[in-house]
């Protein structure tokens, strides 16, 4: 495999520094203070810079208003700083492992030619999205709302590829490795695993397209895993190798990182990785986000104002979105927009009453088709995962 380092990174012309969104000073940061900086990675529109190296960039809420988040505005998340630009033509995906019948290398052309093409609309959300809003605070990338997006992913089923190489009866997990690496050879490489049953789910894809275009470099070119309904930690980018194995994979990023207290959250279990204390994070919890207005926004009296945004969950689909205008005493249903598929987000809108001046304290919560509802309290977990609190915002009619 020929891997070329991205020369453009060395050039400051490749980056557009747009300056601070809020005031900055030398004073200690105040929790919740806005000192976000917008920076454009090569090929991307300006995103909120959380860290330069490895690159972690989130999408501003205002750029999450489209049903399908544009590729150049989609968030970027890496754990390790050595990120090669993989050449699409010479790229090969190695598929094998102890529980595979044989080992096969596929080129991109062979994947495209040899298997049924599948497209699926799905939310891609970082496990730690909204970590920066967690109480108590949790260390790590201090994401706000934008470590997520919705896209139409195109590729082939992982199941079809695995069946082509043959799966032995003792297969337990499927191990996924990407081309990105650590700076120090001793640092654990970012390698993930999935339970065999999730790997063989018809919705799990090896994707090489995003919103109809070739997968962008910063989102995993030439191919990444797409695991609709599961958090983005499993959506391994720059796929290089896939192994079917009979034993639980014991790498750092499975046995230590991306874990939650066992039994704390609903959703799929990852039995082969579970201990009495902790278990891997799996499915996305029911959640919603108002994208039309931010907290404190002003509305003109007597003018129609429509609150809108998105609701999503781990794949049951959205049953309803409820809005309270009396601090949670009573709730009314928002109107749901077109259903883009059970793994995609679902639009909602709600008319805000503006006939009199004053504050409108709103609360918004989604309910999944499985009956799960956004909570009023966070479930504590050390890494600050699964923030899905009911969103509260106050609008001022003036």
């Amino acid at each position: 495999m020929v891997i070329k380092r991205r020369e453009v990174l060395a050039s400051s012309a490749g980056l557009l520094l747009l300056g601070a969104v809020g005031a900055r000073s030398d004073e200690p940061p105040v929790p919740g203070a806005t000192d976000d900086v917008l920076v454009a990675l090569p090929g991307k529109k300006p995103l909120i810079k959380r860290s330069f190296r490895p690159p972690n960039f989130e999408t501003p809420i205002a750029d999450l208003r489209e049903a399908f988040t544009p590729n150049e505005r989609f968030f970027v998340r890496y754990h390790l700083a050595d990120i090669p630009e993989v050449d699409r033509r010479s790229w090969r995906l190695k598929v094998g492992g102890s529980s595979a019948q044989r080992s096969v290398e596929f080129s991109l052309a062979e994947l495209k030619r040899g298997f049924e093409h599948v497209s699926i609309a799905a939310v891609n959300q970082c496990s730690g999205n909204r970590r920066g809003l967690f109480t108590p605070r949790a260390a790590g990338i201090q994401w706000q709302y934008g470590a997520m997006g919705n896209a139409m992913w195109g590729g082939v089923r992982l199941r079809d590829v695995l069946n082509r190489v043959g799966i032995k009866a003792d297969a337990l997990e499927v191990v996924l490795d990407g081309a990105d690496r650590a700076v120090l050879p001793v640092t654990p490489d970012f390698v993930k695993s999935l339970p065999i049953e999730r790997a063989l789910d018809e919705n799990t894809l090896i994707a090489f397209e995003m919103n109809g275009a070739a997968l962008p470099h910063w989102n995993g070119a030439p191919a990444r895993l797409v695991v609709p309904g599961w958090t983005a930690t499993y959506w391994v980018k720059h796929l290089a190798e896939i192994r079917v194995e009979p034993k639980p994979f014991d790498g750092f990023w499975m046995k230590t990182a991306y874990r939650v207290p066992t039994g704390a959250f609903a959703g799929a279990r990852f039995a082969s990785q579970e201990t009495p204390q902790t278990t891997p994070i799996t499915e996305i919890l029911v959640n919603s986000l108002v994208t039309s207005h931010s907290d404190g926004a002003r509305l003109a009296r007597g003018r129609t104002a429509e609150l809108s945004g998105w609701a999503w969950d781990g794949g049951s689909g959205i049953g309803s979105v409820e809005v309270s205008t009396d601090d949670g005493q009573s709730w009314r249903s928002a109107t749901l927009a077109k259903d883009l598929g059970r793994f995609a987000w679902r639009g909602f809108h709600f008319a805000v009453e503006t006939s009199t001046t004053g504050s409108r304290a709103l609360a918004v919560r989604a309910v999944s088709r499985a009956g799960a509802r956004q909570p009023d309290k966070l479930t504590p977990n050390p890494s600050g995962y699964h923030h899905n609190l009911v969103q509260r915002l106050t609008l001022e009619v003036a």
Binding site: L9, L17, V39, S51, F52, A81, A138, I141
Partner: protein, 98 residues
Amino acid sequence: MNAREVRVAAAVATIWLLLAAGWALAGEEAIQLRDAPGRDVTTAFCATCHSLDYIQMNAAVLDRAGWEKSVRKMMDRFGAPIPDEDARKIVEYLGENY
């Protein structure tokens, strides 16, 4: 230079090699940690693997004990080759300044 200063100097040189090789994104070089004792050793070791905005970003989250845990994690889990004496200085610097 004593042995430790040589190591720090080598680590600093490594960072500039990484920057020159295009591992780092432009813009990163503008990040400066607060000027106080321990800044150089902190910059040298931490910036080998990640940009220094990780420190600024977690300043509101971590107290001294949190920084100590974080530095230990970098050494024990991620293999950062930080001598104990330097690790103490880094924790002291981060605890005092962030």
